[in-house]
């Protein structure tokens, strides 16, 4: 009675027409989960707002008058394609007749407790200018003092990027005058960096541009240690406030070979580096907190240019989001091509990008390397890295994301997309939660079943993966509503404050063993999330008698026959064994569900019964 019809909802969603019967949101309060929740009836008290007495109904297919939502969306997509008016990003990866070449420099703040050349503490959002050593502000007479522990995250990063660690490297001065660098030079590793010749491989599942095929390997030219600059807070007028807490904080700069040819792939590269650095504990704050910044070098050349020389490149500085990397490259590539096609030339220069804009803008002419007057730093001895340290860090290197993804896909049976979401969500905590839930679920199964009867891991790990990604995700989509208590929060170890692993594994155990239906399980999950379950899952199931009492095989068969009655035309379509009309089968199964007591029917079993009935009907 309080349920919105699909037609009404789709009118609202697709055409922006508001219902005559009042606010949709307000009504959703009483019937949030339209088709799913309705199978639970009083006395199941936790849905006290839920007053709908009639059984299920409600799947889109049961509303023959309206065109199903999915079909409408399909229709719209088709329309858009026909008009081809809005070029999607997929089309902007290449420009006919031109080749794009991109090289990337990533600056990442190392996860250390002290600065690179002074024992002052690294900090984030502490009181301004509270962690400053004499050397950090270039007080005359102060000397750099290399902090050995910086090497741990630095070497780990280089190893994760498959670099060769150099036994001896050195520090150089890069000169420029700016207020964020009191000494007038930045100490970096220009001539002899500590790590060289690495590479990382980007895979299709990472989301690279389709033009790059299954995988693309990007060479890492070098990784160098260097100092960060002070933080500037621009004030009105020409005034700037400076916080020297950040000056001298250790960074690594990762420099790629110019080997990337598609904007999306460049963005994916940055994302993968971020994940990689986080996994090996080298860099713990991401782009959003300024822990990672990317500069991209962009050039274009005509694909038929016989000399194959790279075009003049421009550098876009300080890109602070993954999306900005892709957008800025596309904008800059298109600008360069326009310029060249109009007979102009590209000036080597530094350009900037503002998030949301359509064009890069010129910041300044590029300083040549000579302008930085690089020179070896005479105050610093060479950096000599012991092989025993490198060996230890190599053997104890964290399991890398690709290895973990492989296992999630191959062993646990998740789709590559789900696996990637799982390990990136909540900064890596969601996947820890997955392992915890899975372990509990496994032990419950082991306790109940003989070793010989134990099901294949994939059969329940995919279920767990599904629920932890999608069903948990669905919970928070209600967060705008008044009943939700906000986002799910996970600790680094994978504990969830709202839905404990104990509750979820219990729920999944009963679902897996078919003790409860999916609908009931979803209902229970929502109740757990909202904190409405007092005595736990088992008590809620018992107290409200939510156990799944499946109908018998005979009843399934009877239902199949009943559903098939009068559907001669549909049944004809099954005559040709070569072209099995799965859609029609599901239509008949849907009919079975409506005819019978839905909450007692397992759709998979119903499908099987229907299939067998049809086979018999056609005498096979």
């Amino acid at each position: 009675m309080s349920r919105r019809s699909v037609g009404e909802l789709s009118r609202y969603l697709l055409e922006g027409r508001i219902s005559q019967r009042g606010c949709i949101n307000g009504r959703r309060l009483s019937s949030r989960t339209v088709p799913v929740w309705s199978s639970l009836r009083p006395p199941y008290a936790l849905r006290h707002l839920h007053t709908q007495p009639e059984p299920a109904a409600a799947a889109a297919s049961s509303q023959p008058i309206h065109v199903p939502l999915r079909k409408q969306l399909k229709e719209q997509a088709k329309q858009a394609k026909k008009q081809g008016k809005k070029k999607s990003k997929g089309d902007s990866q290449t420009v006919d007749g031109w080749e794009l070449t991109v090289g990337i420099e990533i600056h990442a703040q190392l996860n250390t407790s002290r600065k690179l050349f002074s024992p002052a503490a690294t900090s984030f959002n502490d009181e301004p200018n509270s962690h400053v050593a004499l050397f950090d502000v270039a007080m005359p007479g102060s000397q750099p003092l290399f902090q050995k522990e910086t090497l741990i995250p630095a070497i780990r990063a280089a190893l994760a990027l498959n670099c060769e660690i150099q036994p001896i490297s050195r520090f150089d001065r890069k000169h420029y005058f700016w207020w964020d660098q009191p000494s007038g030079y930045q100490i970096t590793q220009f001539y002899e960096p500590f790590a060289k010749k690495g590479h990382i491989t980007l895979l299709a599942r990472d989301g690279i541009s389709t033009e790059d095929g299954e995988s693309v390997t990007v060479g890492i030219k070098q990784v160098q240690l260097e100092q960060d600059t002070a933080k500037t807070l621009a004030q009105t007028g020409s005034v700037h406030w400076l916080d020297f807490n950040r000056v001298g904080v250790p960074l690594i700069e990762i420099i790629t070979e110019p080997e990337i040819h598609h904007p999306r792939t460049a963005a994916v590269f940055v994302r993968k580096i971020q994940l990689l650095l986080n996994t090996v504990d080298s860099c713990v704050s991401g782009m959003e907190t300024g822990g990672l910044r990317a500069d991209v070098n962009v050039s274009v050349r005509r694909t038929d240019d016989p000399s194959k020389k790279l075009g003049t490149r421009t550098e876009i500085k300080n890109l602070s989001t993954i999306k900005a990397v892709e957008d800025a490259i596309i904008a800059e590539r298109d600008r360069q091509i326009r310029q060249l096609e109009a007979g102009g030339v590209i000036a080597g220069e530094t350009r900037g990008w503002t998030i949301g804009s359509k064009e890069t803008r010129r910041l300044r002419g590029k300083e040549g390397e000579v302008d930085y007057r690089y020179m070896p730093d005479p105050d610093l001895p060479p950096l000599v890295i012991g092989n025993d340290l490198v060996q230890r860090l190599q053997t104890s290197l964290a399991v890398l994301p690709d290895t973990e993804l492989d296992k999630l896909v191959n062993h646990y049976g998740l789709t590559p997309k789900d696996a990637l979401s799982l390990i990136t969500l909540d900064n890596g905590s969601r996947v820890q939660y997955f392992y915890r839930v899975l372990a509990l679920l496994e032990s419950k199964l082991q306790a109940e079943l003989d070793i010989a009867d134990l099901p294949e891991v994939k059969s329940y790990s995919t279920l767990a993966g599904n629920w932890i990604l999608h069903e948990l995700g669905r919970l928070t989509t209600y967060k705008a509503g008044p009943l939700a208590s906000g986002d799910l929060s996970f600790t680094q170890l994978g504990e969830c404050a709202q839905v404990s692993e104990e509750d979820l594994s219990q729920l999944l155990y009963h679902l897996y063993r078919k003790h409860i239906t999916g609908k009931v399980a979803k209902e229970l999950l929502m109740a757990v999330y909202l904190g409405e379950l007092e005595g736990g899952i088992l008590e809620a199931i018992n107290g409200n008698d939510l156990w799944f009492k499946e109908i018998s095989q005979e009843e399934y068969e009877a239902l199949a026959a009943e559903a098939a009655a009068g559907e001669d035309k549909v049944l004809e379509e099954f005559a040709d064994e070569q072209k099995y009309p799965q859609g029609k089968l599901m239509y008949l199964v849907g009919k079975m569900m409506r005819l019978g007591p839905t909450e007692r029917i397992d759709p998979a079993v119903a499908e099987n019964a229907m299939r067998q009935w049809i086979e018999r009907f056609h005498g096979r």
Binding site: S118, P128, A133, V239, H240, W241, V384, D388
Partner: protein
């Protein structure tokens, strides 16, 4: 600076490539056995004056005003206030270049740059090496986290004596806890 360079020049004298017709030829003197110390010292073979501009040298390198301004900006030095000052700056630079070019002519092929004078013995390099032993303690404090037991640095509040001074006291201008700087109307240098 010039003294130091001169010393190095004479030390490296054997390697000087005789590109310039002046002075350099006489550097590789082969004294006959009969010559006395007095003979050798009575006739100077090389003079520091050869590094200064003179009639015998080819015309000084052209330096444009815009090159001069560029260099001044890179060095954060004030720009000339008059054409006369500009001209005199260019002349100075030209004479300095005379010297710099002479230094650059030294053939340093195969010579490693001297960055600083340090003990380069095997023992010293060994002492300088940062090995496992130096960091064992830090590594021991790490914790292993999650399903794959990945190492994580334990966050701890560190105290550092190096911070025990009032950095802000050195500020000529401040706002609360911040240093204050004012930029010109147009930033021409710019952070890299």
């Amino acid at each position: 600076m010039s003294l130091c360079a001169r010393c190095r020049l004479s030390c490296l004298g054997q390697n000087l490539r005789p590109r310039q017709t002046t002075a350099t030829a006489s550097l590789s003197t082969k004294s006959s056995p009969s010559s006395t110390a007095h003979d050798i010292l009575s006739k100077p073979t090389w003079s520091v004056s050869s590094l200064l501009p003179s009639e015998s040298h080819s015309a000084p390198e052209i330096i444009t005003p815009s090159q001069l301004h560029h260099l001044l900006r890179l060095s954060a030095l004030p720009l000339p206030k008059s054409p006369a000052e500009e001209q005199s700056m260019i002349a100075t630079l030209q004479s300095q270049l005379q010297f710099a070019r002479a230094v650059q002519r030294v053939d340093t092929k195969g010579v490693e740059p001297l960055r600083a004078i340090r003990d380069e013995t095997e023992a010293a390099v060994k002492e300088m090496t940062i090995g496992l032993e130096d960091l064992e303690e830090v590594l021991a404090k790490e914790t292993l986290v999650g399903h794959y037991q990945r190492p994580r640095r334990a966050k701890e509040r560190i105290e550092s004596d190096a911070e025990n001074w009032d950095a802000l006291a050195t500020a000529s201008k401040k706002a609360g806890k911040y240093f204050v700087v004012e930029s010109g109307k147009k930033a021409e240098a710019g952070e890299p």
